[in-house]
Symmetry: C2
Subunit: 261 residues, 2 copies
Amino acid sequence: MRWCRFRVGEKVSYGLVEGDEVAQVMGTPFGRHRRTGTRLPLSEVKLLVPCVPPTFYAAGVNYMDHVTGTAALLGRSAEPPAKPDIGYRANNALTGHGDPIVIPGDATQDVQYEGELVVVISKQAKDLREDQVWDYILGYTIGNDVSERTWQHGDRTLWRAKNADTFKPMGPWIDTEADPAEMRTTVRLNHRVVADFATNNMIYGIATYLSVMTKYITLYPGDVVWMGTDGIPQNMKPGDVVEVEISGIGTLQNPVLAEGT
Amino acid sequence: MRWCRFRVGEKVSYGLVEGDEVAQVMGTPFGRHRRTGTRLPLSEVKLLVPCVPPTFYAAGVNYMDHVTGTAALLGRSAEPPAKPDIGYRANNALTGHGDPIVIPGDATQDVQYEGELVVVISKQAKDLREDQVWDYILGYTIGNDVSERTWQHGDRTLWRAKNADTFKPMGPWIDTEADPAEMRTTVRLNHRVVADFATNNMIYGIATYLSVMTKYITLYPGDVVWMGTDGIPQNMKPGDVVEVEISGIGTLQNPVLAEGT
C-alpha cells in the first residue's frame, strides 16, 4: 500500500496511490480512515510531504563509507559514532516531491544532497525491544538531507546548514510493504548516477535505533526517523535536478533554484 | 490576555485565564476563535502545554553568567556564542504545568533545571527586520529546559540529555501583554530561591534571534523559541518541587519523580 498526501484546490487529503491514480481517503493512515470513492489521476494532484511529523528525527552519520570519505575530505581520522545518538531536523525545512530546493543567496557552492531512507512511525511506542519495532512502523519514504557544508562546519548548530527552508524534501509517498533488507538507494544529479548503495548497510540499523530511542523517548504516530546516507555527496547548483530513488519505494525528484529566481 | 490549553474529560480546548476562572474558547489563538460561554474554575481544569509547536526552537547558551559559570565548572575558558545560531528541542519531551519531571532510571544525579523565557509565534514570518518581530509574537510563556549533564557532555547529540520524555515542562499559559524588558526570572527548588536574574539580559535578544532566524527559516503560528537561562543550575532529585516564575507571566511548577515510582 502506498500512502500519499496531496492538495486539490484548498483541500489537503491523504490518498492511496494505485497505479497512475490516487484513491482519496478521509482520515489519516495513523487513525480511522475510509476511501471517499473519489479517484484522481496521479499526474494531476500536487503531492505534499506524506506526513508532518510531531518530532523529526535524523540519525545523521550512519554509513561507514560516508564516515571514511568525509573524514578524508576534512583531513581527520575516520571515527564512526560510538553509539546510536539520534539527532533532529526541523519541520520548516520540509518540502514535497517536485518542489524546488531553494539555495539561500549567501550560501557557498557547497550545497549537497544526501539520499536517505525515512522510517514513518505508526503508533505510540515506548521501551521497544528490537524484535518489536517492526510493529510500530507504518512504512518507508525517501528524504533528501540537503546540507550547506560551510555552515555545517562553522555554525554552533545545524540550523541553517540542514534546516533552511526547502532543505528537507520528503516523499513521494509512504510504502507500507517495502523491505529495507532488499532496498538500494540511488541518487542521480541531472539524471547521472552520483551515489548507489545498499540502503540497509547502516552502522546502526532501524531496530537498534528505535529500540535505543524508546528507552528515553516516546514515539508518536507520524514521527519520522531519517536513517542517514552513504558515500561522498557532490555539490548541487541552481538549474540542477536531483533524484533519490529507493527500490521498493519510488523516486523523490526536486529541482534546484537560487533564491530570488 | 492569558491563553491556556486544557483538558476537561476527553476534550482539549483553548481558554482565557481570567482571575481564578477559565473562559473556554472554540478555535485557537492562532486563528479564528470565539468564547463558548462556558466558564470553569481554574483549579478544576488540567492545564496542558499552552501550544504544541510545529518546530521547537531553543537558543541554548544565551546569558553571560551562565557562560562563565559553566566554563569555570568544566575548567574551560568562557566563550560566548559568536553569533545567534538557534538550536532545537523535541516535542516528545513537552509536559504541562503540574506534571512530573520523571528522571530516567540510569540518569546520573546531575539532572538540573534551567528556567527560560519562551516566545510564542503568532503568524507566519520570513525575513523580519528587528523592529518587525514584535508584531509576530503572540506572547510569552515559561519553560524549564531540564538537562542531564553527563549525557549532555558525553552523547553526540542532546537527544536524551535535553529531550527525554518530560524534560521540557512548558506553561502555565501564554501572556500576551507581558514586557520582556520588565521581567525577572526566579527559580525555586523546594521553595528556596536558587536562581534570580533579569530575563532580558540575554547575549542575543529576542529581536536579534527572530530577525536572524527568519533570514533562512519561515516561522509558523505556534512555533516556540526558548531563550536560554542564566546562572549555574543545581541538581534536582526525586521528591523535589521546582518552580520557574517570570514576573508578568506566572509560575511553572513541576514535581520531580524517579522513573518507575
